[in-house]
Amino acid sequence: MTTGADAIAIRARGLTRRFGKLVAVDHVDLEVPAKRVYGFLGPNGSGKSTTIRMLCGLLTPSAGEIEVLGLRIPAQADELRPHIGYMTQKFSLFEDLSVCENLEFLAAIQGVPKAKTKARIDALIGQYHFGDRQKQLAGTLSGGQKQRLALACAVIHEPELLFLDEPTSAVDPESRRDFWEKLFELADAGTTLLVSTHLMDEAERCHRLAILDRGALVADGTPHELTAQLEGRTFIVETADPRRAQRALDGVPGVLGVAQVGNTLRVLTAAGAGDVTQRMGQALAAAAQKAEVAPAPPNLEDVFVAATRKGDGDGERAA
């Protein structure tokens, strides 16, 4: 662990949540270092939101232990609340209140001292660029503006720990970049951030990352550690007819995944499948495809595919 010397903000062991027969979160062990941006990467329905809700005490776990900022959750959830900020997946501020009114409301609810409230709101309005929109109703803001306001409201009481549930999934790339700037500013100022996402480019920005699939934690580490494990297992196939080539490659032993990227195919192979390039060449030749197979540097999408296919492929554990 590269951040081993740092304090741990969140620790969970055997965290499980069942909804009837469905196991939404399945024995997740988690350690989130303090003052870092920690990412939860996973597709929809992988248990990201459920995990976050259990960590901030909104959902009771079916099994497992949680310790957040040294407090036992859910038993001490009330003591935890003043120290956390939570930005929900769905916009949860009041659409029929103005930017300023939403901030005032949360300042009062979160117990920002009365004397400091005005200065704090003014500072946030400046930092989050709402100078000319203070009186605008939150419901009429654009997607990116709404996310900025939600973040401003979530940090109004300067929490030690900030949970963000898919904060930018509905936002354009430009706004997303601005948003991440803010997140790093917060981390620099000493806030621990836990961000869930299903976007690879967002996951790459995190200091550390956990990959969730169908409720289970399948990999975790820094983005660099995770991709380094796949070194030598990823290839680019250039061909005139990528779709036919993809069909030809799909059944080849040792091939974990084939994805079309523009005019090329991106192939992920299983670990220890030594002569897989040779088999791929044969399969392509058999399908009468002229193709060039070249090694490519692995990315997080490969990590994700490798981690989620480990159960049904012949690959080994990715992390």
Partner: protein, 369 residues
Amino acid sequence: MNWRRLWAIVVKELRQLRRDRITLAMVVGIPVFQLVLFGYAINTNLRGLDVGIVDQANTAGSRALVLDMLATGVVAPVARADTPQELMAMIRRGRISIGIVVPPDFERRRIDGRAVAQVLVDGSDTAVQGAAAQLMQVPIDSAVPDTRAPLTSTPASGRISVVGFYNPQRRSAVNIVPGLIGVILTMTMVLFTAIAIVRERERGNMELLIATPLTSAELMVGKVLPYVAIGLVQTSVILALGTWLFEVPIRGSVLDVYLASGLLILANLALGLLISTRAQSQFQAMQMTFFVFLPSILLSGFMFPFAGMPKLVQWLAEVLPLTHFLRLIRGVMLRGAGLGEMWGDVLALAAFVLVMMALAILRFRKRLD
């Protein structure tokens, strides 16, 4: 209970309400609309009701009595008949609302001091019954000076008998406006808070709120308080319109009227909150509101006399806040009673408020599961 957080909720609710045109229209619109609608339908100053007359005596005295009755302006003659049976047939057909019958032995009855005439009333319309009562006030002996019997000061009452058909239970129309305060408050207040919590859940605000230090009690009380003020505004609108348009008296103290109204408002708001913690959607909350609203209107004594209901239904009605409020408000406004004289109903309402509020706070969990 943190007062700053509580106040933040109150301010937020009021700001949201200010921007919610439809709800705002409901605050003033429903009382005005309902009062005018109900009020005119139960107009107590009915004039020119269709009347049929049977004068079997046909003496100077009987003719004078009939003319006196017509002179009240309450009735206007549209038919004459020879027998009371014909009149009853006309009432049944709806041709006339009131029939006046003067029997052949009118003069003898007058001397004997017995009832001298009969007024047949279509009791299917309570307002007509109210109007018919005015006919009883017509003096019998003033029209023709009677030299044989020195009974000129005979009180009129009892000398003309009124017989109501189809609805022998006569009710005063003035009952309705005080009752209407209760009905309108029940209708609007329960609905206001019934959707209050569930709306925030639907819009996603609740997940944000429960992740903050806000407590259940702060949230619940903060949601109730602004609507108490709104309920009192509604009460004032109804009272003002009621006295101005329909001349409904307030014989007791105005403070008592507001205290009773305040209790009913709290009771309904608390009930609404409880519904809101149960309902899954705003639509469901509306449905549940109607489950409360219909029995309130039908069983509280607003529409049908409480005394006429079976015991079991009466017990059920005792659970409804409107039942107790009706007794209080009719007592204060019409009989000039004080709340202290009707402490049983005051206590019942107060207990209802406390129980509902406690249940709502206990039922509301700061959890998503």
